[in-house]
């Protein structure tokens, strides 16, 4: 248990408010909660990669950052008029 694991654990707590936002309010509110959760997840993966001391795990954080961006854009596009 070093400071990186502790930081990852603390960051995970940030997912709780994001989850609550995803459960309430209008669809756009929920989308904002989802985007925020994606950011927090990316940071958790970033910190965990350093906690496990494996350079290859950083690719995971990079992939999630780019894919949650693409997913958010698709959701925003569909929320504009169809849903």
């Amino acid at each position: 248990m070093n400071e990186w694991t502790l930081a990852a654990l603390a960051l995970l707590a940030g997912l709780v408010p994001c989850g609550i936002v995803c459960l309430r309010g209008s669809p756009v509110d929920r989308l904002v909660g989802l985007e925020m959760a994606g950011t927090v997840d990316t940071l958790v993966l970033l910190v965990l990669a350093q906690a496990y001391d494996r350079a290859i795990y950083f690719d995971l954080a990079l992939a999630l950052a780019l894919l949650s961006f693409a997913g958010g854009l698709v959701f925003a596009r569909f929320l504009e008029r169809w849903i």
């Binding site: 930081a7 408010p17 994001c18 989308l31 904002v32 925020m36 910190v47 350093q50 961006f69 925003a76």
Partner: protein
């Protein structure tokens, strides 16, 4: 504890605290536009602080460079995503953007 360790711990603390407060901000605000503001610190300050911590610990190595790349990706993509989301929220509320007829080029149509 060496100064570098202290700096790493401080940077990590900054990243974690900023992210947690942003999450709380997203939770307590009223509408989507207000909430969107609070996604910015978590994607601008926190990744840079955490990437700096990784870079301090690992020096310039594969891990350090990849951490910087992740921070850069978040920094570049989030403003675009915020804009797209705010635009979607506005269109849902007020409908599609149109130019008022009397403001269109050439004045009002006959």
């Amino acid at each position: 504890m060496s100064p570098v360790d202290l700096a790493v711990a401080a940077l990590l603390l900054v990243g974690v605290v900023v992210t947690l407060f942003s999450c709380l901000g997203v939770l307590v605000m009223r509408d989507a536009h207000d909430r969107l503001h609070y996604t910015a610190p978590a994607t601008a300050i926190a990744p840079v602080a955490i990437a700096a911590a990784v870079l301090l610990e690992e020096r310039v190595s594969a891990a350090g460079v990849k951490a910087l790349l992740v921070a850069l990706a978040l920094l570049v993509t989030n403003p675009v995503l915020s804009h797209a989301t705010a635009r979607a929220a506005r269109i849902r509320k007020f409908g599609e953007w149109t130019v008022r007829e009397d403001l269109q080029e050439g004045g009002p149509r006959p």
